[in-house]
């Protein structure tokens, strides 16, 4: 893990860069190159964290083991955003209405946030099975995932 990844904001210039660390870099490299999700596992409590991070907060111990999770999962909880607002990251209007979900990827213990496809709102439910839809372009950011779609 020698490559550091820097995340940039959208087309509108903002004077910020965020280092995501080596664990975050591993996540985005696997996501971009192989379309795989990697979390970290605590040796002490066995909890699998997504996004991956170095320290298990409750155990306060360093995690060194990466585990592949997903790419499929279930909706842990969700909402559908219906009010218009500006995305402070990009200065652009958010694409309301949009589905916002906390996805429990198979094998992970924490939830992964992303858009949920709401073409058929009646199917958007806690426990519904989902899978990611990836972008054709590979950017090495969270936007490499376009959204999760319901596959039930």
């Amino acid at each position: 893990m020698k490559e550091n990844i820097i995340i940039e904001s959208g087309a509108l210039f903002q004077p910020f860069n965020y280092s995501i660390g080596l664990y975050g870099s591993k996540f985005f490299k696997e996501l971009t190159d192989n379309r795989k999700f990697f979390g970290t596992k605590c040796q002490k409590c066995n909890k699998v964290y997504i996004p991956p991070r170095k320290v298990c907060g409750p155990c306060f111990s360093e995690m060194t083991e990466f585990v592949e999770v997903g790419p499929k999962g279930v909706i842990g909880t969700y909402t559908i955003l219906r009010y218009a607002f500006i995305d402070p990251e990009t200065g652009e209007q958010k694409p309301v209405p949009y589905g916002y979900g906390f996805i429990k990827l198979d094998g992970a213990d924490t939830l992964f946030q992303h858009y949920i496809n709401i073409e058929d709102e009646s199917k958007v439910k806690i426990g519904a099975r989902v899978e990611p839809v990836f972008s054709e372009e590979k950017k090495g950011t969270i936007k490499d995932i376009l959204y999760f779609k319901i596959i039930d």
């Binding site: 995340i7 910020f16 965020y18 995501i20 975050g24 964290y49 997504i50 996004p51 907060g57 842990g76 909880t77 969700y78 909402t79 559908i80 955003l81 219906r82 009010y83 607002f85 500006i86 995305d87 402070p88 990251e89 958010k94 949009y98 916002y100 979900g101 906390f102 924490t110 939830l111 992964f112 946030q113 992303h114 858009y115 439910k125 806690i126 426990g127 969270i142 936007k143």
Partner: protein, 387 residues
């Protein structure tokens, strides 16, 4: 130095409105400070130290502690700024309590303020969350709260109508409070017919944006009873923060509230909170929290929050009135909101809550809520604690 007992001896709130262009930030702060000093019959020279707070990123002012000294009365005094998101108002109260309880300062002025109208609230709140993992989908406070409500509904089966019942209660209570921003009764039908913001939250289920400030004066045991014959004694405080990423939250309940309340009841020897506490000022930014969080507080059994609300127990005149002030969904100057809960609980203890007074209050609980689902609690008592 040994631990001192601490009491609230004075409070002051501004006139609250969605937009206060008649005052700048310092002047808004000063309005609350002058009222608190007047309430305690003290002069600014009597104050030993100041704790101040607002929401980071809201007014675009960074060193708010320095910037506001004219209004706060802080010229050449020790001042500390504390800012913890939604909990700011309750955190400054707990911070002020620690300063007095430690014996370092005798009289401390605590100030929470916000001019929500002067910024993009949703944008600013979003910047409190991780830029890489959280912000793509996050939509300010409402999105997280909606996710909490959905998880609760899926687990225990509450409905829009149950949420609406909480809104109806608080907006009715607000009519008794001259400091509340929204003072108009609404019906269940009004709430359900208001626009859906984020399923299952309607416009009338959530708090407004408010310009306003609140100030509270705390004093040590050595002088509290000389300042006022009816001090509001602080029995215990508790603060619990959950992990950073929203995906780590145990959705559908408020773990930090459950832990903080257990701690505070233990400290105060409370066995049956529902019977022993006389009034609660709950930092409740949306209606469903009024159902979910009273379960985490041990006031209602898991899954029975709605039933308890419908019984009228939390209305004025009920077993345990909640939010006689009308609470957060009637008035929400964010950096002041938690401190207003604390001040309102103090007014109840001191018998100064006028038309919103609950009779014979001996024990009151006030709370703060913020950020990644964290909680502050303060327990107030008429009786001087015996530790």
């Amino acid at each position: 130095m040994s631990k001192k007992r601490v009491a609230i001896v004075g409070t002051g709130q501004t006139f609250h409105k969605s937009h206060r262009p008649d005052v700048n930030g310092q002047e808004l702060i000063n309005e609350a400070v002058q009222r608190a000093l007047c309430d305690a019959n003290l002069k600014i020279n009597d104050i030993d130290a100041i704790v101040i707070g607002n929401m980071d990123h809201f007014e675009g002012i960074n060193y708010v502690d320095c910037w506001s000294v004219d209004g706060s009365g802080g010229v050449m005094k020790p001042i500390i700024k504390l800012t913890t998101g939604g909990t700011t108002g309750s955190t400054i109260a707990i911070g002020g309590y620690h300063l007095v309880a430690s014996g370092i300062f005798e009289k401390v002025l605590i100030i929470g303020w916000e001019k929500n109208s002067e910024s993009d609230t949703t944008g600013a709140i979003t910047t409190a969350f991780d830029p890489v993992w959280d912000r793509l989908v996050f939509a300010g406070a409402i999105s997280g709260l909606a996710a909490e409500a959905q998880a609760y509904i899926s687990k225990y089966g509450a409905s829009d109508k149950d949420g609406a019942r909480v809104s109806v209660r608080d907006r009715k209570h607000a009519c008794n409070n001259p400091h509340a921003q929204l003072r108009k009764e609404v019906s269940i039908e009004d709430v359900l017919a208001s626009p859906m913001l984020a399923d299952p939250i309607h416009l009338l289920d959530v708090c407004p944006r408010t310009d306003g400030a609140c100030a509270v004066i705390m004093a040590s045991d050595d002088c509290a009873e000389k300042i006022t014959p009816t001090p509001d004694w602080i029995v215990a405080t508790s603060s619990r923060h959950k992990y950073t990423y929203l995906g780590d939250v145990n959705w559908g309940q408020l773990d930090s509230m459950a832990l903080a309340s257990k701690e505070i009841y233990k400290k105060a020897g409370i066995k049956e909170p529902r019977k022993e506490i006389n009034v609660i000022e709950l930092y409740q930014p949306y209606s469903f929290a009024g159902i979910i969080w009273i379960e985490d507080l041990g006031i209602a059994e898991k899954g029975n929050g709605s039933e308890y609300i419908w019984s009228g127990a939390t209305d004025m005149g009920g077993e345990l009135p909640i939010n006689p002030s009308g609470g957060v969904i009637a008035c929400n100057p964010i950096g002041a909101t938690g401190l207003i809960r604390c001040a309102e609980a103090a007014l109840q203890i001191m018998g100064k809550a006028e038309t919103r007074q609950v009779p014979d209050v001996k024990l009151a609980l006030s709370s703060g809520f913020g950020g990644c689902m964290w909680t502050d609690l303060i327990l107030h008592s008429k009786k001087k604690p015996d530790f």
